[in-house]
């Protein structure tokens, strides 16, 4: 490097700009612009030659976050004001729902009721995780209820009537569902049929197949105490309190370790990291929630298997979406198909594979629903199963327009929906009223999403 190439080249370029716009713009304005460029380039000079020594050039317009806990609070307030509400409305909603029903019935917060809720959310929750993947692409999958139903039907018919090993039957059912998802994905990605239409056709076709598989009798009772029947009823260690405590402690420790490791790597690389106070606060919140949950579950029968599997799927899904190239590709396709294609991403494959994932999740969810009712039948997965799952995902904060969301929204959202359903059941409200209330909650969540999106736009958070 000679004296300061940046400054000279910038000045030259600015001078050229002067010639370019001399006819159009007033000379003073151009001079000002040229001066600014030169000054900026000069300011950049030291960064060029000694990047390590100079403080990183921070745009003066950017609000710098203060270090420490005060900064965390400030940042939080600013995010709330700019419409980046995150999970706050859902959590507030959950607390509100729990308070209302506890007040009305007096036994909503009882351990056995809460344990039942955690068991019931597994089926629709797993379907909702699949919907998160599809919504991230900005698409929809209307067939998941039918896919859940036909998978449950296949698993029960194959295991009960044909006497195939139950594990094998589960694999066959999930495999069949993944095949159906691949079919949806193929027609959508390769042929170009809108996803709405493809999956609507799937909804009809697969519920027809469900009836066909079940035959004339229409209901197949699961093997008593078999694998599928136990999915819903099994408690880890047959109710040993150890498991719930262990999971709570393990989860908290892993969470804290992940945060600390990230903090260490970022600090070592000279990047801004979360302040320690924030890490401890987050860990504290996670610890309180998981330990209280463990305590409540242990008051009843311990750690239910459906909850463990649902949580595992949510965590794995979150990991795949946020920490793998494949997850990044899903977000990219949801944010801009053309951009993703030009970045060398195989858009068709991402789309097909996402439909395979959603169908596979639906199959798993269907097995849990079958396990809960003790049989595979013609009605499984029909009615408002699919609608509840889609509503849950949206309530949880995943955008309907693609590119924004996480699998945790499936957990939070389905908790809200199931709490409302269970609470209304407890106060013996008619199902007609239940539908209307659930519908109103869904509408409220979407309104909140739309309003916060508008606030985000005006606050420059897209």
């Amino acid at each position: 490097m000679t004296t300061d190439p940046t400054t000279t080249s910038a000045a030259e370029a600015a001078a050229e700009v002067t010639t370019a716009v001399e006819a159009a713009a007033a000379t003073t304005a151009v001079e000002a612009a040229a001066a600014t460029t030169a000054v900026e380039a000069a300011a950049d000079g030291p960064t060029d030659t000694a990047p390590a020594a100079a403080a990183p050039a921070i745009d003066p317009r950017l609000l710098i976050r203060e270090a420490g806990f005060a900064g965390y609070l400030d940042e939080f307030k600013r995010r709330m004001k700019s419409g980046d509400l995150g999970s706050v409305p859902v959590v507030l909603g959950l607390i509100l729902i729990a308070a209302i029903f506890q007040g009305l019935t007096g036994n909503f917060l009882n351990p056995d009721n809460l344990t039942n809720i955690t068991k019931w959310i597994a089926g629709p929750g797993l379907i909702a995780v699949g919907i998160v993947f599809v919504l991230l692409l900005g698409e929809i999958d209307l067939s998941l209820g039918s896919v859940a139903g036909v998978s449950a039907a296949i698993a029960s018919v194959v295991s009960v009537r044909s006497g195939v090993n139950e594990w094998l039957a589960i694999l066959i059912a999930i495999g069949a569902a993944v095949g159906m998802g691949a079919l949806h994905g193929f027609f959508f990605a390769k042929i170009g049929v809108p996803s709405f239409v493809v999956t609507l056709a799937g909804l009809l076709t697969w519920s027809g197949l469900q009836m066909y598989v079940l035959g004339d009798k229409g209901t197949v009772n699961l093997i008593n105490d078999g694998v599928i029947a136990n999915l819903d009823t099994y408690f880890l260690g047959d109710g040993d309190v150890f498991y719930a405590w262990a999971l709570a402690v393990l989860g908290t420790v892993l969470f804290a370790a992940g945060q600390l490791l990230d903090h260490r790597r970022r600090t070592a690389a000279g990047l801004p990291a979360r302040p320690m106070s924030e890490i401890w606060l987050r860990t504290g919140v996670v610890a309180v929630i998981s330990l209280v949950a463990a305590y409540v579950l242990n008051q009843n029968q311990g750690l239910p298997l459906p909850l463990v599997i649902f949580l595992a799927v949510v965590v794995i899904g979150d990991f795949v979406l946020r920490r793998t190239s494949y997850g990044r590709q899903i977000f990219a396709v949801g944010g801009g198909v053309e951009a993703a294609r030009r970045a060398g991403i195989n858009v068709d494959w991402v789309r097909i594979s996402v439909y395979m994932i959603s169908a596979g999740m639906a199959a798993l969810g269907g097995l849990f629903i079958a396990s809960q009712q003790g049989s595979g039948d013609k009605l499984l997965g029909s009615g408002n199963v699919l609608m509840n799952s889609i509503a849950a995902v949206v309530i949880g904060g995943t955008s309907l327009f693609g590119g924004r969301g996480k699998t945790w929204s499936a957990l939070l959202g389905i908790l809200v929906i199931q709490s409302i359903i269970t609470g209304l059941d407890l106060v013996h409200v008619n199902q007609s009223i239940q539908y209307m209330i659930t519908g109103a909650v869904l509408l409220g969540a979407v309104v909140l999403d739309s309003v916060s999106r508008r606030t985000q736009k005006s606050a420059g958070r897209g």
């Binding site: 190439p5 940046t6 080249s9 910038a10 030259e12 370029a13 600015a14 050229e16 700009v17 010639t19 370019a20 716009v21 713009a25 304005a29 151009v30 612009a33 040229a34 600014t36 460029t37 380039a41 950049d44 960064t47 060029d48 990047p51 990183p56 050039a57 921070i58 745009d59 317009r61 950017l62 990230d262 790597r265 970022r266 690389a269 000279g270 990047l271 990991f319 946020r322 920490r323 793998t324 190239s325 990044r328 977000f331 990219a332 949801g334 944010g335 801009g336 053309e338 951009a339 993703a340 030009r342 970045a343 060398g344 991403i345 693609g402 590119g403 924004r404 420059g460 958070r461 897209g462």
Partner: protein, 259 residues
Amino acid sequence: MTGAPVLALRGVSKRFGAVQALTDVHLEVHAGEVVALVGDNGAGKSTLVKTIAGVHPIDEGSIEWEGRQVDINRPHDAQSLGVATVYQDLALCDNLDVVGNLFLGRELRRFGTLDEVAMEKRAKELLDTLSIRIPSVRIPIAALSGGQRQVVAIARALVGDPKIVILDEPTAALGVEQTAQVLDLVERLRERGLGVILISHNMADVKAVADTVAVLRLGRNNGVFEVATTSHEEIISAITGATENAVTRRQARLAEEAK
């Protein structure tokens, strides 16, 4: 320019149905050279760029890369050779942050998972060496201004260490200062020894940064000029294709009136 060209097109032709978009086009790009590709609308600039980028395979002719003949049939072929293209419509994902966009399609990994720390560090280094300043590398692209998006798009093209960078109308929608920043960036690319193909309608930009101007007219070569020794008028007449046209008539009239 001395030495063999990095990229050379020899007699390239491309048809779309009944339209002959390119006929027998030649183009050479050397390392450390900025070649401006100019021509009227429909002259074939975009088609030519897309053949290099692998979007449209060529029908006739050949493409040489560092002296040997290559086939470019898919965007992937061009990328693996070392051609990076910045399209006019930027092609950034609005919902991903700057780091995510810079490394989209070639993420750095660690134990099979995304290495966000390494990516963020490299992104900062890259933006620093190019003197690009944006508020934060962790804000979504949707929150950036037009000029900032353009420089991010150009920086993105550099992540894969290309040898040729194609810029399609990089200054079309930018203000005075942002234009200067992008032109600065083009010069920095040249200093780093990259070959740059710059498509522009703006003669001032072309004269500011280009070494060579290649003119296309109706899908054919219509002259290659050294910028330093060529006047504005010569290039304009090569673009419009004749000495007798609206531009020269107007200039003659103005000259007449001035007398």
